[in-house]
């Protein structure tokens, strides 16, 4: 008969994790010889009921220990102590952190007749080697335990059952009256409100007028609703934009009335595409797909949470963006992810205090994305991984999701009397202050202060939400829906009730554990929750569906018609605010932006001597190199509709330009969708305007390359920038927005959704301003798609697009140590070439097609050879003639050995001019292709060769001569077998 049990599950054989030795060496611990990992389950009985040995044996055999691979050791903690000899580190989640294993153990135990128990889990590491206590602490902190969500013990850890504190109903009044600016700011900081002096004064005068003090619930609600994260203050501010010439003289001052309206929404309106269903007004952008369905697309960032707790941060990032899709009544069908990390090989000694090593960040983020997306059954099909020193303290995690919804199936108008229904996970003290936390900069001590802003996701509860909402949508059971994201219920309910007013009772919110104060319940960002407006007559049916899908449902209150937000706790009003003040009371900020134009040319530098060597360096450069180690851990096949995958070619390892997906449920016709991205922070450091137009071109050309119709491509913008209250940061942001406008207009591509994540700084250092453009295109014929790998020897190769002297911000300049140079700008009439290319792809003329991006022509050619395991013989003489001088710009680099002719080779090979793709065409189709592209910049380059060798010549001069094996091994970073030579 037991009371509190500890069950240790150990593997019979544990080969150990080979990555562990390397990781511990990185931490400076060289003496770790081996590590044996066990899983620990704790069980306790609340009811006073005890468990029989027989029942515990069954529990172990049915649920905990695999009879083939594992052994269970059961210890009654009231009588015995677990073994503590040797080097042992035990790690447990902090109380309140989502623990799916504990929950499933409780449920499983109940099925076996063991009821009224509480479970907790921990992990045990038995370490072998000559290790000091200091080493053990270092390993625990650096490898096994993340202080933000976990705690550890050297030796057996005490069970961490859920936190149980007394019920709290305390509501504070916060007197603001009479406080001066300094005191107001102190109040904002103390409560982590992230409100500035002007905003605090506005709140002060509102409460002075109604002659009372705000409650903590009200103040917190205002802070969330007015946060940068929720309301996008910077993009809605008025900006005085000062531009200066490169030598620092004032050039112009422009008043910008809202970046969002002036540049992003204006572009969408001007382009005026009839197939845009919804842009900027809802949780996700929506475009038309076919005569039955529309498509929804949204990309979010989860940067600060991922910096603190990579797995949980990325995990809940996917969860959040998928709920955005559910929040427009769509069925999620795919995910995308774009990640920016610091250098993976950073020596531990150079790691600033207070941050996790970039390798640990990457490992956690990738695992977090895979875990959530895979468990939801969503294919993660497209993305990018970019490395730069600038992301060391502040990584970027962009999570995207696509959804499919029947036309007209998304209701958006709650009615007075409709019930406020919350579905999904329970509410805990998790993720509190996420919205305001993401609107503040990271510092060395953030991980200590803001741990509560991070949470681990529960994809299975979210999966239930997907199914339930789809069923409820089809039965028309709700009149409005939104997800519970940043700001929790305060944001979701406040936003839904904006036009009507709302009255909710917080005691109806289901809690994970007692003891939350009213404001904590109201603000908690506990994951996997949706809020619906439900006519009372539909509640019983919704409850039936919720029971079927194992989703918890609660009725919190109702929508009123008086325009007030009323929040109660046990009938007592804890917040009473007019919606008008909550949503329109925020003072419009005025901001100042400065941008100093870059010198067109800077230093001359020594040019590298061998283009082939440079190409290999580029292929092994982390941002260019194969991401297969990451991408294979994502399920990109689930739902059975992935037609162009992340990898292509006979070895299924060549890089694809974009993904093509056929949505499940829409197989009766041949239309499909394309997903692609454009991102280039290296270029942004040189010129943020050029980064924006180039990112648009990149996303656009990638989508066209796989078969999307250039007249059916919609764009998403995601800005990740530093502190926008600093004029230099805001100046580059303004330039990027201007690039977005010009790009969207040139490509006739509307923005349908976007998001900004600002304050991405670590200890005062901003990240490189980073713009991600994601594209969603319609592929008219899924049987006419194109992939990037070379198909057949003897086929002809063409370059589409002009090559300019554009190495500014290029990978070449970065690796060659060249500063300055002209950045790539908009090509001439880009749309004409893309339309011609699309027509050629649709008629089956194009055998393969690959876009030119980082590393230019050389890298693109190499990637096509790698994918196809075929060679190519190319002469760039015709490009060299074609390399166009940018008007009024002097030639930006010279070589130390004064070989002007040779420098043009570098441009031909490595320039990153936009609007360019490589095409492979069967010899018999070559004439037709050339006719189709008459008047467009199409240059014949060479042929595909059976010999797996990439040879690039300029007339008789051999510039590159490399075997495909060498290319593959540089790009994949591994020794590969020599099959490609045969």
């Amino acid at each position: 008969m037991y009371r509190t049990l500890r069950i240790e599950i150990s593997p019979h054989e544990d080969g150990g994790d080979p990555r562990l030795a390397a990781a511990s060496q990185r931490l400076g611990v060289d003496t770790l010889r081996n590590c044996r990992k066990s899983q620990i389950y704790f069980l306790t009985s609340h009811s006073g009921e005890t468990f029989s040995t027989e029942r515990i044996d069954r529990l172990c055999a049915f649920l905990l220990a695999d009879p083939v691979t594992e052994t269970a050791l059961v210890i009654d903690l009231s009588r015995d102590e677990p073994a503590a000899d040797g080097h042992v580190i035990e790690v447990a989640l902090r109380p309140g952190v989502t623990d799916m294993a504990a929950r499933e153990l409780e449920r499983g135990a109940a099925e076996l007749g063991i009821r009224g128990i509480e479970a907790a889990t921990a992990t045990r590491y038995e370490l072998l080697g000559d290790l000091s206590t200091h080493d053990l602490h270092r390993l625990a902190q650096g490898l096994f335990c993340n202080d933000t969500i976990e705690q550890y013990s050297l030796g057996p850890i005490a069970p961490q059952f859920g936190s149980h504190s007394d019920a709290q109903n305390r509501v504070e009044q916060i007197p603001l009256s009479g406080l001066d600016e300094e005191a107001l700011l102190a109040c904002s900081q103390e409560r982590m409100l992230s409100l500035d002096a002007q905003e605090m004064k506005e709140i002060q005068s509102f409460y002075d007028e109604i002659s009372r003090a705000p409650t903590d619930v009200e103040l917190e609600t205002l802070a969330q609703t007015w946060s940068e994260h929720c309301v996008h203050k910077t993009f809605k501010s008025w900006i005085a934009f000062h531009q200066q010439t490169p030598d620092g003289r004032a050039k112009s001052v422009q008043e910008i009335r809202e970046l969002l309206r002036t540049y992003i929404q204006a572009a969408t309106e001007k382009v005026n595409r009839p197939w845009v269903r919804s842009a900027f007004v809802d949780n996700a952008g929506i475009i038309e797909f076919d005569d039955e369905f529309d498509l929804a697309f949204k990309v979010e960032t989860h940067n600060h949470p991922s910096a603190l707790e990579p797995f949980g941060g990325a995990n809940t990032g996917i969860g959040g963006v998928v709920r955005d899709i559910i929040g427009v009544s769509a069925r999620p069908i795919a995910c995308t992810d774009v990640l920016c990390f610091g250098p993976q090989d950073l020596p531990q000694a150079e790691l600033p205090p207070g941050i996790l090593h970039p390798a640990r960040v990457q490992e956690g983020v990738v695992a977090g994305i895979g875990d959530y997306g895979n468990k939801l059954g969503l294919p993660t099909v497209n993305g990018a991984v970019v490395y730069d020193d600038g992301y060391l303290g502040n990584p970027l995690v962009f999570c995207g999701a696509v959804g499919l919804l029947p036309k007209g199936a998304h209701p958006t108008e709650p009615q007075p009397g409709d019930r406020v229904v919350v579905l999904g996970g329970r509410t805990g003290r998790d993720g509190i202050h996420g919205a305001t936390f993401s609107s503040a900069e990271l510092t060395q001590s953030t991980h200590m202060e803001s741990g509560s802003a991070v949470q681990i996701g529960d994809p299975i509860t979210e999966k239930g939400l997907i199914e339930l909402v789809e069923a409820a949508r089809d039965e028309k059971l709700y009149t409005a829906i939104t997800d519970c994201g940043a700001g929790g219920l305060s944001s979701a309910v406040g936003e839904m009730g904006k036009a009507l007013g709302v009255d909710v009772e917080l005691q109806n919110v289901p809690l994970k554990y007692p003891g939350l104060t009213p404001w904590e319940i109201w603000l908690s960002e506990a994951q996997e929750r949706m809020v619906l407006a439900v006519p009372p007559a539909h509640l019983p049916r919704l409850q039936e569906l919720a029971d079927l899908w194992d989703v918890e449902m609660r009725n919190l209150g109702h929508f009123s018609d008086d325009g007030w937000l009323r929040v109660r706790y046990g009938r007592r009003a804890v917040a009473e605010l007019p919606m008008a003040f909550l949503h329109d009371g925020l003072p419009r900020p005025l901001r100042v932006a400065h941008y100093q134009e870059q010198q067109p040319t800077r230093s001359a530098a020594r040019m590298p001597s061998d283009p082939g060597h440079m190409l290999l360096r580029m292929l092994s450069y982390p941002s260019v190199a194969s991401k297969e180690q990451i991408v294979r851990t994502y399920d990109h096949e689930v739902r059975g509709g992935t037609l162009v995958r992340p990898f292509t070619g006979p070895q299924m390892d060549g890089p694809a330009d974009a993904a093509v997906l056929k949505p499940l449920g829409a197989w009766r016709h041949d239309q499909a969708i394309a997903l692609s991205v454009g991102i280039n922070p290296l270029l942004g450091k040189r010129d943020p305007y050029a980064m924006a137009v180039s990112a648009i071109d990149e996303a656009f050309r990638n989508a066209v390359a796989v078969g999307a119709d250039p007249d059916r491509i919609a764009l998403l913008d995601n800005f990740c920038w530093g502190n926008p209250t600093l004029p230099d940061r805001l100046g580059t942001l303004v330039r990027a927005c201007q690039g977005c406008f010009d790009g969207a207009i040139a490509y006739h591509a509307p923005f349908i959704s976007g998001k900004d994540s600002l304050y991405n700084e670590f200890d005062g250092q901003p990240i490189p301003g980073t713009l991600l453009i994601s594209a969603l295109g319609i592929v008219p014929d899924m049987r006419r798609t194109c992939t990037s790998h070379l198909k057949r020897s003897g086929n002809r190769l063409y370059l589409l697009g002009e090559t300019r002297y554009e190495l500014g911000g290029s990978l070449f300049n970065h690796l060659a140590g060249v500063d300055g140079g002209e950045p790539p700008l908009m090509p001439d009439e880009p749309l004409a070439r893309y339309r011609a290319l699309h027509a050629a792809i649709r008629t089956g003329l194009v055998q393969s097609c690959h876009d030119l991006s980082e590393g230019g022509l050389a890298v693109a050619l190499a990637e096509m050879c790698i994918g196809g395991r075929l060679g190519a013989a190319v002469d760039i003489a015709s490009i060299a003639q074609d390399v166009r001088l940018v008007e009024s710009s002097p030639f930006p680099v010279t070589t130390t050995d004064h070989r002007p002719l040779a420098t043009s080779h570098w441009f031909s090979l490595f320039s990153e001019s936009n609007g360019r793709l490589l095409l492979e065409v069967a010899p018999e189709d070559a004439d037709t292709l050339e006719e189709r592209f008459a008047g467009l910049p199409l240059t014949p380059l060479g042929v595909v060769m059976e010999t797996a060798q990439l040879v690039v010549k300029h007339s008789e001069q051999r510039l590159v001569d490399l075997s495909v094996t060498e290319l593959v091994s540089a790009w994949k970073g591994e020794i590969v077998n020599d099959a490609s030579r045969t």
Binding site: D17, E54, D57, R58, A61, F62, L63, L64, D66, P67, V68, T69, M100, A101, R103, E104, L105, R107, G108, E111, L112, A367, G370, N374, K375, L376, G377, D458, P459, I460, K463, G464, D547, L548, W549, D550, R632, T633, Y634, D635, H636, E637, V638, R639, G640, T642, L643, R645, F647, T648, P650, M652, K662, L664, G665, W667, M782, R783
Partner: protein, 262 residues
């Protein structure tokens, strides 16, 4: 042709709709039924001619792949399942469904004591455990039907099957070599990982993507009416899904074989 097929959905199941589409293309009449509906008695297994346990992460695989769903089968559906099995109706477990069948003791199911009794649980001598790579992996693989498989409806599949795996715990292992010999002898091996020419993967990664002993990708029961496999034949039912562009080697062949002749 009306051949009702129950596609079982537990919380976290996610390849149910693809499995249903494959069954439909193969001539069956699939219906996705939630395990709660089955528990509530809204449906009974005996209403159907075939049972499919599709892929996914039932209950998040929080205590090991398929473990919680296996418990559901034992606790709630033991009798129904035995009856279904005894009538010779066919059962297909894919990926998480395969893991569930193995962990519930339904596969290979040589024992007749599938039940909730506490004395019977220790007899399972095979499992699906973590991939040797230590992580989830998604890639296309070639499968060959084992000629000696008791599941004789597989015999008409005369070509390899080419389809993706997408799992973290697909490594088929046995307690001892005698168990493996017994599996072979009893004709319980149904599928093996092979190369594109049909030669054994012989443990070579990534042809054998998870380290399974003897390249075992799927097994069947002695009566030959229940099979389970880790790869996803339901994700290759139309040539357009083939990443190498071929026309054949469809996973649909498996569904056709199971549904035809019934």
């Amino acid at each position: 042709m009306n051949f009702p097929i129950l596609i079982l959905h537990a919380s976290g199941t996610n390849r149910d709709a693809e499995a249903a589409r494959a069954c439909e293309l193969a001539g069956g009449a699939p219906q996705i039924v939630h395990i709660n509906q089955l528990r509530a008695g809204a449906y009974r297994l005996s209403d159907f001619e075939m049972l499919v346990l599709p892929g996914g992460f039932s209950y998040g695989d929080a205590l090991g792949a398929g473990v919680r769903q296996a418990l559901d089968l034992r606790v709630f559906f033991n009798d129904q399942l035995q009856e279904f099995n005894a009538s010779g109706k066919r059962v297909l477990g894919i990926c998480n469904g395969f893991q569930t069948l193995v962990k519930a003791g339904v596969l290979p199911g040589a024992r007749t004591d599938v039940g909730t009794g506490h004395t019977q649980h220790a007899t399972r001598n095979m499992t699906l455990t973590h991939n040797t790579s230590g992580h989830f992996e998604c890639r296309w693989v070639h499968l060959a039907v084992e000629p000696s498989a008791q599941a004789d409806f597989l015999a008409p599949i005369d070509d390899l099957i080419f389809c993706p795996v997408a799992h973290g715990e697909g490594n088929f292992q046995v307690t001892e070599s005698a168990t493996l010999s017994q599996l072979k002898q009893d004709g319980l091996i149904a599928f093996r990982y092979v190369d594109a020419n049909g030669a054994p993967a012989a443990g070579r990664y990534p042809l054998n993507p998870n380290g399974s002993v003897a390249d075992i990708a799927g097994i069947c029961n002695p009566a030959g009416n229940i099979i389970g496999l880790m790869p996803h034949p339901e994700d290759h039912i139309d040539p357009i899904q083939n990443p190498l562009g071929g026309k054949g080697r469809l996973g649909l062949a498996l569904f056709r074989a199971m549904i035809a002749g019934q």
